[in-house]
Amino acid sequence: MFANSIGALVVGKPLDEIGGYSAVNGASLTPKGFDAALSQIRTLAQ
């Protein structure tokens, strides 16, 4: 290790402009039950 970077701001690229990747590493997709409950909360909040 160590260490690069302090405080710099990364600018991302749109996914549709990036070619040749197999998968996206990041927040996992959520279960249907969670999505439905979240949708209900948003509806009630409106």
């Binding site: 290790m1 690069n4 701001l9 990364v10 991302g12 996206v24 927040a27």
Partner: protein, 293 residues
Amino acid sequence: MMQTRELLGCKVSVHLGEGVEAGDLCELAFAECERIEGLYSRFIAGNELARVNSCLGDWQEISEELAGLIRVGLEAGQQSFGAFDLTVKSILEGWGYDSDYSLTEGAVGSVGGVELDGRRLRLSAEIDLGGLGKGYAIDRMAEILKDLPSVLIDAGGDMVGWGRASVDQAWKIVLEDPRDLGRAIGEVTFEGRMAVGASSPARRKWRDRHHLVDPIRGEPARGMMGVFTQAETALWADVYSTALFVLGFERAQQILPTLNVEAILVASDGRVFKSEGFRGELYRVADGVNTDR
């Protein structure tokens, strides 16, 4: 070729390199993942995890496999000065992240003690293996598929891969921008066998809550927007991504050199830190200072 199943509360995919024939190995790998979820998910009633959680205060005999997972959780808790804690279940459920996804506030939960003596366990608070179960499941799938030349197992935040997508193309994954899920902040090209993890509340968030708990404050962890990790196994990549997220941007940087992991940290204010050994690139930075050197 790719096969996908809905498991572990998300989608799990197995990508095979060009020309790789897996026979029934993919089915066996998915079956193993389903077995692990069946035993250790807190969202499934009546499993081994539910049984141990129902006997708070009593010493109880548990399986060697569960003991091993709890041992990892305890070790991670020590390494991260309590940032990783298996006993956050009641806090999450108090916020409504329960088996019914009520997402409504209930009783205030708290963390507690875990005593493990070989295969004997005593709990003072219920445990949740959400901080390591997915990584473990991916490792077990990888073990079943290990004789295939080129595989990428993808559960979103947790991945293991080896070999190449094709003769001309290595496995390449992009690092999702936690501020904008339609963008990526960088990419990783797999060299040899690699295990990666990620933690971000970008999808599992509701009201002012999300699923990454600061066990010391009993609140959603603040200060970090996303963490990407690389470790020897998906299990430890998963564990460390959670622990580093909870620690926050500055504290995580202090502790990183003591851990067997490489990481990219994205702070809530957009600052990014990349450890020197992290294999991959950040695309570019706004202020013209390239941090990826």
